[in-house]
Symmetry: C3
Subunit: 361 residues, 3 copies
């Protein structure tokens, strides 16, 4: 699949049925490497399919549509939540997972090319999700793979399923308030310079209309200029500030990220901002709207010297961070179903759930 | 589930059907964190369900009752036998397992709270088994988890499924000889001071009547006084001794544990006991009853300087150590079936086994 | 199973139906520890069953014959491709896999004997594949195991499924050209002294007739004399040479292996052979037959100083190295089906595949 394959249709909202069929043909057998592959129509398709996955993820029913299929889960860089989320999503569709979680003793470490690794491993499964520390590694791997490859994170480059679950969460949280991504006000807070999740989210937001963005960060960690100009070219309003309290005012969505002290040129620089970009109950109550949604790509550092999102907000119903990780499961189910072309069969292979299910969601 | 939830009924043996239903309701959706949660009736329930799991574990038939369910196996401390035993037990019920076997690169290591980890991971599975080196960690995790959590070992604190499989093995071995846990004579041998398995077993034995306990250990590794007084308060007879040969006389059950030299204040102290607490064929033959059952929580150290249970007993039919690990599978199947409330459905989803099955048991 | 159990019938080609039944009885429940267990008839059986597995591996259909069965995958030495290949093969037959991929924290590392480890772990699964760095470890393990054990590699000793997939690849590639293993000309190239794969292949080739073998290596890495005399005793013609270009002439099969510089007594010795045993497009074109098949047990080292099989041959249709790893899946499926005695049931449990399948093969 070339990276431009989804770019025929832009900013036109939900698809007509005939277009949907055409688009499903594009997903079928495709690699998912970058958020740049998506236009607004393809994103809507993914989100609609994800909506249909909710009853399966919530255990109101289950499906065996992918019974017999094998996911090759190749995490050449460690990960717990992304790896388990992909694996569980595949299990929820009825498929099996063969997992690799180390690189040190792998053939890649012994000088094997990504080409060879991909040719070999793609003979062992129907679809592969891969994480690797090297930027571009997953794309190189995908070019030699004989089965579709999903990028589970390639260094500082891309992590497309994270960006999709973030955007899906925004859509869902806003929708419950009668709002849309178009015309929303979002505040991005923290490390906007190095955060892969923030960058991918900015790329996706360019596909929408009239978004108001507050960028709240220390100047050392501000969003790169190229992203800002690109967002402004898409017609969005951008406000940059170092002032958390004023920056969050009026926002529909807060998207917080971790600030790592080692990102600063010196400890002195880092100390200047200690505690300044931390959201807690009192700031939220005083400066945010009553139903401003709080998001974070997680993990958050709950130790005293980090604590960018205080635990005193844990009981706030607008804290969407765990709904956000839950949404990762249905987004990944949707990607698997679309790529393996079983969207129309999921319900056909549905059954009831006969074991105790917690009210988790 | 609060730790006292099983304590309504004590020391009354097998349940009436009406009580069974009531108790099943208590298991459903519960966490299993500590042996202190169990009374005698709940233990009998677990053991009765475990008995019904034997034909599935023995491969006389198989069941798909949990087809579609997912176990999150979170071993933040390494383990082979406990991890595989839990995983196989879930597979034997038809479910899938998503496994994590490392902590070093996990979010917990990056400062994520158990609260966050639990909120996130409990969105990926129907039930979780967790091991972690920190005492109390599994309970803390369970309080934030949205699905039931089983303690697979939290440091020196608890390992409830080990205690249950030990007690189940005692019951089964004695039952084959027409004896019961009530009125038995058990000898606990080796490191009684630090052994988690021994401590949990002592807690469970308090629920039974008229047990005679011989505690055989070097004084540095003797059972803590609090356990002894608690056992005596339950009406049991306790004999403490350093003399293995006399201590084992008349015992129905020998429960051996590993003595680690580093437990002693000095090498000189350790050397004093070298070889004194080792059971072998000649000691067994001279001092034990003809059918005294030999147990050990495993692994045993088969190197010359350890060797607390000699390989020359490997062919002795009273050596129950591998029946003991086998029993771990059915005990864990029983816990899964009770917590997920499928006890009554296991047989409904049964099928024949069509592949070669070794006569393993 | 004793190592001679397959040796009743030799060099007689395909089996009569009545003999097939007899042989299946021998596979059922057996351990697979060494290529020395096989005679020509048993190899033909494995290969015929592997042929029948192709449509399942190619995803033209799927089977659930081993639904409910559990493979214990015990890789006490790291491996990606062998481990995943065995696991996927078991999944393709419908079974589950419980995996262990580390040794450092295992009971073996704490002094547990292979006997104990095997007794315990064999209570958790229906069949075990094991890799361990120590020669003979898998056999020792198998002697105490209560379920069949497949050797997934025990140090420098044996890796029988690799040898079988190599020989199966040779048979299949030659068959497409109207040739047979009998009367073929094969060139073994590179490190013939230490390569486990080469040694096992030589053992298997002794079962065939009139093979012409060119052994191309630096003298320091030549095939041990015992192998050469044994091959010659079997009636095969052997040519030893250091000259790659002349050595490959007329060969039907090239079997390349990696030369590791550290194998030489000194760097000076290693430098003498730099680049001499590397196959590339120009050498292939000038010195090989038009359809000489290129094989390699993989991984190949694609870094500049290794590069024993140049990437400029990647598009050559005679490059069989990825068909070779693909064949590993069907060979392992065949071994599982034979040992678990479900060969006749595989098709009975077949179904269609309803998801997108890449044209991988």
């Amino acid at each position: 699949m070339d990276a431009g394959s989804f770019n025929g249709i832009t900013k036109q909202g939900h698809l007509e049925q005939s277009n949907l069929s055409a688009l499903l043909m594009i997903f079928t057998g495709s690699h998912i490497l970058s958020v740049s592959q998506f236009d607004r129509a393809s994103i809507d398709t993914i989100f609609d399919v994800a909506d249909n996955m909710q009853p399966y993820a919530n255990r109101q029913k289950m499906t065996r549509v992918l019974e017999g299929a094998i996911l090759g889960s190749m995490f050449f860089e460690p990960s717990t939540r992304t790896r388990v989320s992909f694996g569980s999503a595949f299990n929820l569709l009825g498929g099996e997972v063969r997992e690799t979680t180390e690189i040190k003793a792998s053939a890649i470490a012994k000088g094997e090319s990504f080409y060879d690794t991909a040719r070999v491993l793609s003979g062992y499964s129907d679809i592969i999700v891969m994480r690797h520390a090297i930027e571009g590694s997953v794309q190189e791997f995908s070019e030699a793979s004989r089965v579709p490859v999903l990028n589970g994170g390639d260094g500082s480059n891309e992590h497309p399923s994270q960006a999709l679950l973030d955007l899906y969460t925004i859509r869902k949280e806003l929708s419950a308030q009668g709002k849309t991504i178009d015309n929303m006000h979002i505040a991005l807070i923290g490390d906007l310079r190095y955060g892969r999740a923030v960058h991918s989210l900015c790329k996706l937001l360019k596909l929408y209309n009239n978004v108001q963005m507050s960028l709240i960060s220390p100047p050392e960690l501000s969003l790169p200029e190229s992203y800002i100009s690109s967002i402004e070219s898409a017609g969005h309003a951008v406000l940059e500030t170092e002032d958390l309290q004023n920056g969050v005012k009026g926002a529909d969505i807060l998207y917080l990220t971790r600030i790592q002290e080692e990102r600063f040129p010196s400890q002195g620089e880092a100390d200047k901002y200690k505690g300044i970009f931390r959201l807690n109950h009192s700031i939220y109550t005083e400066f945010c709207e009553p139903n401003t949604v709080i998001m974070h790509p997680l993990p958050r550092d709950s130790r005293g010297n980090a604590n960018e999102l205080d635990n005193d907000l844990n009981e706030n119903p607008n804290l969407a961070i765990f709904r956000q990780t839950d949404n990762g499961v249905v987004i990944r189910m949707a990607l698997f179903a679309l790529i393996l072309d079983v969207v129309d069969l999921v319900d056909k292979y549905a059954r009831g759930v006969n074991w105790y299910t917690a009210k988790r969601f």
